[in-house]
């Protein structure tokens, strides 16, 4: 090809590309309903991805709207959304970790779900709160998850130990089960949201409050967790383990008990010879309801143009429909986010019952602090690491965290 021809072709390519971009961005004037939308999620693991694809396929068939799905790793979701937001190329439907919703909604890129007649009736109040930013609901989920104590039935039976219900029992059980190169308990204490999320059930159940990180209740909770590590009942490696690593330790028999979420149950079921049980997270005193953090992803609809938004709302509405909700919850081991549905679900799936029980008293991480939660969470996670690594006492670490979190 001559250079003139090449130049001409390049110009044509450029003009075509610009025209395509313009056509893609501008609101279409036709007034016809969109028949195709894009959706973004972070279900990158095999089970989660398969379950999600199934519900999307079902809803594509039910609504007649084609869903182009994009999946990114968990830690890439928010950076991707921010990038898309600045270039005005947000997906039509996105599923984000519920504490991130506050950040995303604060950009002004999301539309309230009431615009599409999606009702919050019958949902757990905590879940609605997690999806609410400045009094408007921007996100709703077909299911939620939470943490519980998962234990190796055989190991507990061999040692004559009952599944623990209180901190004291948990400590005693962890001590007794730590032997033969096994640890009694495993959990994640990463200096990220993952570590904070795993620590919150201890923090909240003891009456501590995210608005004041250095309260005596908070110090006591942190001391309880760090004592488990100092005493050797939990490996010091908890500092580096994410929740998948924790599940690895449990599956391979290196840990007798673990703090982990329901989404791991399918994996435990697949492990031959593993006999496990689930109880709610032990509480400081008997009779206290555990206060775990509500986990899971909420579906939200960014402002991408009226027709596309309507189409996305149709798909989201379909995902939230009871049969689809239950099918997805079953496939992904999540708890349905509607009260009555969850109750029935728990009765039909005994291993999920402790999770259903906990969701009733679970709290939304962002309910109190809104978008400030992420700063506070980061400070709390850093304090936990500092204490477990033996750098600071719980008092000092939490005081520093409160100072850091309180910075304007």
């Amino acid at each position: 090809m001559s250079s003139a021809a090449l130049a001409r072709n390049l110009v044509i390519t450029g003009v075509t590309a610009s025209a395509l971009v313009l056509a893609g961005c501008g609101p279409s004037e036709s007034g016809q309903a969109a028949t195709e939308i894009t959706a973004l999620d972070y279900y990158a693991d095999q089970q989660g991805s398969k379950a999600w694809q199934q519900v999307l396929d079902t809803c594509a068939a039910e609504t007649g709207i084609k869903v182009n799905r994009q999946t990114v790793p968990t830690d890439q979701l928010l950076p991707k959304i921010l990038k898309d937001a600045s270039s005005r190329t947000l997906p039509d439907l996105l599923f984000a970790d519920n504490p991130s919703l506050q950040q995303i909604a604060s950009t002004g890129a999301l539309t309230p779900l009431t615009d599409y007649g999606i009702s919050t009736e019958g949902y757990y109040p905590g879940i609605v709160k997690a999806g609410t930013y400045q009094d408007k609901v921007y996100g709703l989920a077909p299911g939620v998850n939470g943490l519980a104590l998962i234990y190796n039935k055989d190991l507990l039976q061999q040692n004559g130990i009952e599944p623990p219900q209180t901190w004291e029992q948990l400590k005693a059980a962890a001590t007794a089960l730590t032997k033969d190169g096994k640890y009694g308990l495993a959990f994640s204490a990463l200096a990220t949201e993952e570590g904070t999320w795993q620590f919150l059930p201890f923090f909240w159940s003891n009456g501590a409050d995210l608005a004041k990180l250095d309260s005596p209740q908070a110090v006591e909770a942190m001391r309880f967790v760090s004592d488990l590590v100092t005493a050797g009942s939990a490996s010091k490696s908890v500092l580096n383990w994410n929740q998948n690593d924790v599940a690895d330790q449990f599956v391979t028999g290196n840990a007798a008990m673990m703090v982990n979420g329901s989404w791991n149950l399918a994996r435990l079921d697949e492990t031959a010879g593993l006999n496990y049980g689930v109880v709610p997270i032990p509480t400081p005193r008997p009779g206290v309801a555990p206060a775990v953090a509500l986990g899971g992803e909420v579906g939200a609809i960014p402002a991408t143009g009226a027709e596309r938004q309507q189409a996305a709302a149709k798909v989201l509405g379909c995902i939230l429909n009871e049969p689809n909700m239950v099918a997805w919850d079953k496939a992904h081991a999540y708890v349905p986010s509607k009260v009555e549905t969850a109750k029935k679900f728990g009765q039909e799936n005994p291993a999920m019952q402790p999770f259903v029980t906990e969701v009733e008293t679970a709290r939304a991480r962002t309910a109190e602090l809104g978008e400030r939660y992420s700063t506070v969470s980061q400070a709390l996670g850093a304090a936990l690491q500092s204490v477990l690594a033996g750098q600071q006492s719980p008092e000092d670490a939490l005081r520093a965290a409160q100072e850091q979190a309180g910075r304007p």
Partner: protein
């Protein structure tokens, strides 16, 4: 005066490179500088509004207790990595400059760390360094070098040495390859002459190899320095900057400021710019020394 044809041709040759540099280096850099001077929040990405904040972000970063930690860790990481990468790389290069059967095969095997994606080798090292079940602690115990398990990744005192070890392992092949090339360029006749003069192996290295390898050494060290200062993935995969910030360097800290909790993009950009500044200083030093070496050669 009109532009002569040769000059116009020179510009034509320069133009693609110039456009590339401006587009892919200039634009992001200018953007990053502008970001570091603004109060850039999550909101700014959508609205485009980011109020001018002057040097506030730099002040916040410099006043943060983590700043000192990050600078010190970056320095220790860089110096420790480069020193051992270079000495081990040089030793291996000298070893492989002698011809023996299997040399080529062994050399290509030693390239392996370079060929593996960092995320893969980082994840494998994380398992190997595991305190309880890691193969490294098992090996140390087996040969009697340690009684108890070494808390490689869980003790703030050990974590930095651990990531430095991983980075040394990754960096050896680069040093080996370049230095090996440099050694091949030294004429064999010089060694023959030295041997005739009765020079020992050490004397041959000290008086023939080392001085003639100097230009290559300068290149290896300077490139190594610039590579190592900005290492991000190794640390991120192996320790994530932890435990308790023990392996937090300027790069991991910049990421943390931007994406972990605070979403202080302006401060993250400020740390990134400080890093660019440091790397630029070393880059200029390299150019100067390279020019000096060239002049010396031409003389």
């Amino acid at each position: 005066m009109t532009l002569g044809t040769p000059r116009r041709a020179a510009w034509a040759f320069l133009l693609p490179a110039l456009v590339y540099v401006l587009l892919f280096f200039g634009y992001p850099l200018v953007n990053n500088i502008s970001m570091s001077l603004r109060e850039y929040s999550v909101r700014s990405f959508y609205t485009g509004e980011a109020p001018f904040a002057g040097l506030d972000n730099y002040a916040a970063v410099l006043g943060d207790p983590l700043f000192g930690t990050a600078v010190l860790n970056t320095a220790l990481f860089t110096i420790g990595s480069i020193f051992f990468q270079f000495t081990i790389g040089l030793a291996l290069a000298v070893f492989f400059s002698g011809r023996f059967p299997g040399s080529a095969l062994l050399r290509s095997l030693l390239l392996l760390p370079w060929l593996l994606p960092l995320v893969v080798s980082g994840a494998v090292w994380r398992w190997m360094l595991d305190q309880d079940h890691g193969v490294i602690n098992a090996a140390l115990r087996a040969v009697g070098l340690a009684d108890g398990p070494t808390p490689w990744l869980t003790d703030p005192g050990w974590a930095l040495p651990a990531v430095i070890i991983v980075n040394i392992w990754i960096g050896i092949p680069f040093n080996l390859v370049i230095l090996h090339g440099g050694l091949r360029a030294i004429p064999a006749s010089l060694y023959e002459a030295a041997a005739l003069d009765g020079a020992s192996a050490w004397q041959r290295f000290r008086h023939v190899t080392w001085p003639l390898l100097r230009p290559v050494t300068a290149v290896v060290l300077m490139l190594g320095l610039v590579y190592t200062i900005k290492v991000f993935d190794v640390i991120m995969v192996v320790t994530g900057g932890g435990p308790a910030n023990a392996t937090q360097t300027l790069t991991t800290w910049a990421y943390q400021l931007s994406f972990d909790g605070d979403f202080a993009f302006g401060q993250g950009a400020a740390v990134g710019n400080l890093l660019v500044l440091i790397a630029t200083v070393f880059g200029l030093l390299y150019l100067r020394s390279a020019r000096a070496a060239l002049r010396e050669e031409q003389r």
